[in-house]
Structure formats: C-alpha cells, structure tokens
Chain length 324, copies 2
C-alpha cells in the first residue's frame, strides 16, 4: 500500500483524488491546500490540511502529488517539497524542463527522495513514444499533432482581449496533414498545415465583433501562424456546449529500415477530460516513485528513467503471464 498526498485542489487535484480511488494499492491520506481548509469541499472523506502543516506529514505519506500549475507553482514547489517527500509533478513547459530537472534533482538528492517530473501525456506518454520511435527507426521523421482539444493557454489569450467576456479555443489537427504523415512519405509540414484553431467567443455588451476577430487572428505566436476560425456565441451556449476539457493527439514516427521499406508507428489519445487523464498517469508514476524510493534510490527522474514494471501493482511474474 502506498500512502498518497495531494498538494493543490483544482481540476488536476480532483482528478488525482478520483484516480487513486480506482487503484486498490493506493490510499489518499491528505489533501494539502493554500486556501483555508474549511472552505474546501472535496469529493472524498480525505482530511483537508493547510499546506503550512505539511511538514508534520513527513512520515505519514509516501508520495506527494503536486497538482499546481507550471508557470509559477511547480518551479517553486517541486524543489521545495522534494526535500521532504517523494514527489511527482506534471511540469509541462518544455523549454524549461532542463532547468527544472536540475533544481529538483539537487533538492531530491538532499532529501534522499525520488522526484519524477513532467508526467502526463505531453510531456509524458508522447515523449516516451518520441523516444521509442527514434531509437527503433533512427532513419525517420517525427510528427506530433494535438487535438481535437481545448488549449487552456489559447483560451486564456482570447479572454485577455478587450471586449471578450469569455472564450474557449480548440486546437484541431488537419486531417490531410495527418494522412500525409501516415503515408510513410516523410513530408515536411508547416505549422499552418498541421493544425487549425477554432475559437468560441462570448462578447461583452457593445463590443465590436469585427475588431475582436481581427485582434484574434493577427495575434502573434498564438493565432497569426494558423488558420483560425472565430465563432461568436452566447454565454449560455458556451456553458452548454463548451464546458468540457477534452483533448488528445497523435505522435507518429515514420522511417525506413532499407531502401523502399517503410514503417509507421502511431500513438494516439482521445480524451474526454485532459485533467482526469493526466491525473491517471500521475498516479501510476506515484506508485513507481514509492517503489524506487524503497529500493534506496533518490534524485530526479523523468518518464525516460522509469522501467514500465514499476508502474503496475502486479509483480513481474504476473505481468509476464498476463500482458507480455
């Protein structure tokens, strides 16, 4: 049995709470929050504890799952808590992973703990498939497509535009580009060819739709390089039809092993809820963290460093008999 703690109770924290419930060998012992614990309504009978008291739990939990955001929470929290606990996070700012790894690694070693960072599906399962594709087909090409799904970052960008009351943005992979990647012909695909962006926007009273649309489609980094569609809808419609957080995507590796002999490896996810799925991955890697720690290992790991058997509650013999 592994005793788990959660820090942060947003969509991800609720997902972890739920995922632990589906795994008999994991027990949720505490939910830590920066808010007033009395104000937090959780979905289980788990004690809600102020993060100020977290040090008292050092010997009462085996792994702390960090459910904060990558922008400001995790760069501070993961190193901080890796000194006290085995920890897992879903740090997803790809460009800053090397720096985050370094900070977390020295903290985890100092504490004699295991930290597994950047767990989820991208980074995470998609990264694993990029690595496998590259080592198996060294003479080849990678393709990653995201969606159809809600991009939180792009939805936030829409909501910052003057005149926008509320908004949701879907990233949509272009079928023709996917088919080209699958063809085995290793095409070069531009940003515009691979994805389109669909925006559903609720305007403030009296806002100028034309101006808002122009501000969206020309926004650098976020929309200017894409074919972007803007749909103006009512707040009721947004709530009714666009409240979910679905996501998914595709990782392809296309390569040849000899002249004219091509192979395509494809990995895809179709997720009704991005945070619930990410949480489920975090929970499986929490099991691995506890095991590695029991073996006496310490330091920072990523999905690349974890042998898959550590993820399962079955032992090696059972795994070989049932899944190999």
């Amino acid at each position: 049995m592994s005793r788990i703690g959660i820090l942060g109770y947003g969509n991800l924290g609720r997902g972890v709470e739920n995922a632990i419930n589906l795994n008999d060998d994991l027990e949720l012992c505490a939910i830590f929050t920066r808010r007033n614990p009395a104000d937090l309504k959780v979905n289980s009978n788990t004690p809600v504890v102020s993060v100020k008291e977290i040090e008292n739990w050092k010997d009462k939990i085996d792994v702390l799952i960090l459910c904060g955001g990558s922008a400001t929470d995790l760069p501070e929290q993961t190193p901080k808590y890796a000194k006290l606990f085995n920890v897992i996070d879903s740090f997803d700012t790809h460009a800053r992973i090397p720096e985050h790894f370094k900070n977390v690694d020295s903290a985890a070693k100092e504490g004699g703990n295991i930290a597994i960072i950047s767990i989820g599906w991208d980074p995470g399962l998609f990264s694993l498939n990029r690595l496998l594709g590259n080592v198996i087909l060294p003479d080849g090409k990678d393709y990653t497509f995201w969606g159809k799904g809600v991009s939180q970052g792009h939805s936030d960008a829409l909501r910052r535009i003057p005149g926008v009351k509320n908004a949701k943005q879907y990233t949509v992979p272009v079928q023709a580009a996917l088919d080209a990647a699958r063809s085995g012909k290793n095409p070069e695909l531009t940003t515009r060819q691979k994805h389109t962006r669909e925006c559903f926007v609720v305007l403030e009273d009296g806002a100028d739709a034309k101006k808002v649309e122009e501000a969206i489609v020309t926004m650098p980094n976020y929309f200017a390089d894409y074919d972007t569609t803007v749909n103006f809808i009512s707040e009721e419609e947004l709530i009714k039809n666009h409240s979910g957080i679905p996501h998914g995507g595709f990782v392809l590796r296309s390569g040849k092993t000899s002249d004219g002999t091509n192979h395509v490896i494809e990995y895809s996810l179709k997720l009704d809820s991005n945070p619930e799925f990410t949480s489920s991955v975090l929970v499986a890697y929490a099991r691995a963290a506890h095991r590695l720690s029991k073996e006496g290992q310490s330091g920072c790991k990523t999905i690349f460093d974890i042998a898959p058997a550590y993820l399962s509650s079955k032992n090696g013999e059972e795994l070989r008999a049932t899944m190999l």
Copy 2:
C-alpha cells in the same frame, strides 16, 4: 561503442545486420551460423563464423542477438548462450514465456550476463502498450488487432494441405470492429468479429480446388473460427504480388476515469517488413543490454524491466532537452 554478434542468418539476422548499420554506436563483429560459413553470403563485410567457435568470441562481443525461431531454436539457444554472453531474443510463443524466462534467468545469472527476451512488437511494443494502458486506465478494456499482414504460421498451415503447392495468408483486422473498439463503448468482440483471413493459394497440378478450399475453411484453430477467403492464383502471381512480409496491428485501451468520462489510447504499427522492424527493436534493446551489464546487473529481463533511456545513445540531458 557496443560490439554485436548475430546468431542465425535468416530474415531476422539480415534485418539485424541492416539495423546495426543505421546506428553509429553499434558495431557488427561476427555472424555465427550452424551452416558452413563459406556457404553464407552476407550483405556486409562482417566475418562469418561457425557456431562451433562461438566460445572464442566471449571477450570480443558485448551482446549476442539470437535470430533463431521460437519453436525449437530459442528455447535451447537463449539459456545456452546467456551463460557466455549478454543476449537478446524475440521469443514469441506467449504461453511459454514464463518457462522460457525461468530457464534464461538462471543461465544468465550463472554467467553474470544480461538476457532480454521476447523483444519485438508482439510480444514487445504491444506488450508495453498493454501494460501502460492497464495502469493508466485500470477501469477499462484491452483490444489487440493484428494486420493487415502475413502470418507465417497460417501460411505454413496452408502449405501442409495436400494439393497446395505454395500459399500466403493475410490476417486482416475488421474495420467495423476497430471502429467499435475506438468508440469508447467497450464492446465485447468475438474472434470472428475482429479478424478475417485471406488466403492466396497455388494448387499442385490436378489438385481439386473445392476440396482444398473445404480443408482450409474448416481447419480447427487456424481458420474454422474466422471468415476465411480463399483465392487460387498462379505461382507467378504469388511471387509477383505476395512476396513481401508486411505486418502491423493495433493495441487499444479504452476506459473511464469517472462516470461518462471515457478515454481511448491507441497504438498502431504499419510495417512494410515484419522481420526488418522486429530487428530494429532487437538492436535498440541490445544497446540497453550492454549498458545494464556494464552497471553490473545480470539475469533475465523483458521489455517491462528496461527504463526507456537505456535504449538511446543520447544521454539523459540530451533526451530531456530534445524529446521530453
């Protein structure tokens, strides 16, 4: 640099020879054969050596890749050579893996070597995806589809029928069943619903086509439980259109994380050459075997026991910066 030896020079051995060529950190040092070495024409300048002399190579190669068959070669060869070398095999008789593991494990430990068994795509990459699917979505269902591709076992079964001169059998996944598995509704699918079998048969002169067809479609285990199509063709047509060894397939895990919240994970392969792709997987795991051995580990491992980072020639820092 890892020094590799090959034992057995059929389709798989030739594939390994080729795959090593695509990896700068691997060097093919010897091809061992049970045949007369002088009779073997290989595609590289690699020395061809009689298997009788293999013990002399104990300190000259780091990993021996066993390219024999699962029926009779590997059950004998893998334990035998695990005493002398780090070894990899593609043992694919699922039901006998636990027994094979046990034999290889004690031999490898005796020799102080690493042995990695059942490497390829099924068992192998498909097994890895079954494990990942199960740990991430414990409340779900597995689906494995094979094809479209040539089944060697079924083609052999056809050729044993009196009146059949030559034959090729394709296993074909049924699109409707694949779509049902992808739907997230977790359907129960029967053997007949999941795959059809397409046979291309060259008759002996004077053979009775009706009788041969009847013998095929009623053959227990191989064809009786499937919708089987039999096409009689000329030997020229068989050679012209059916000489390739393509294969592939799909592993799906469909499950829910809360009521009404479903997720589908899909992994698929589309391979122009089954043996060339399998060889490429073997070669990546040979790299891992050498590394594990250098760390002082020994014993038998499967794909479940190997942390992905061991498969790549890049170090952890490079992997995190480029693929995570």
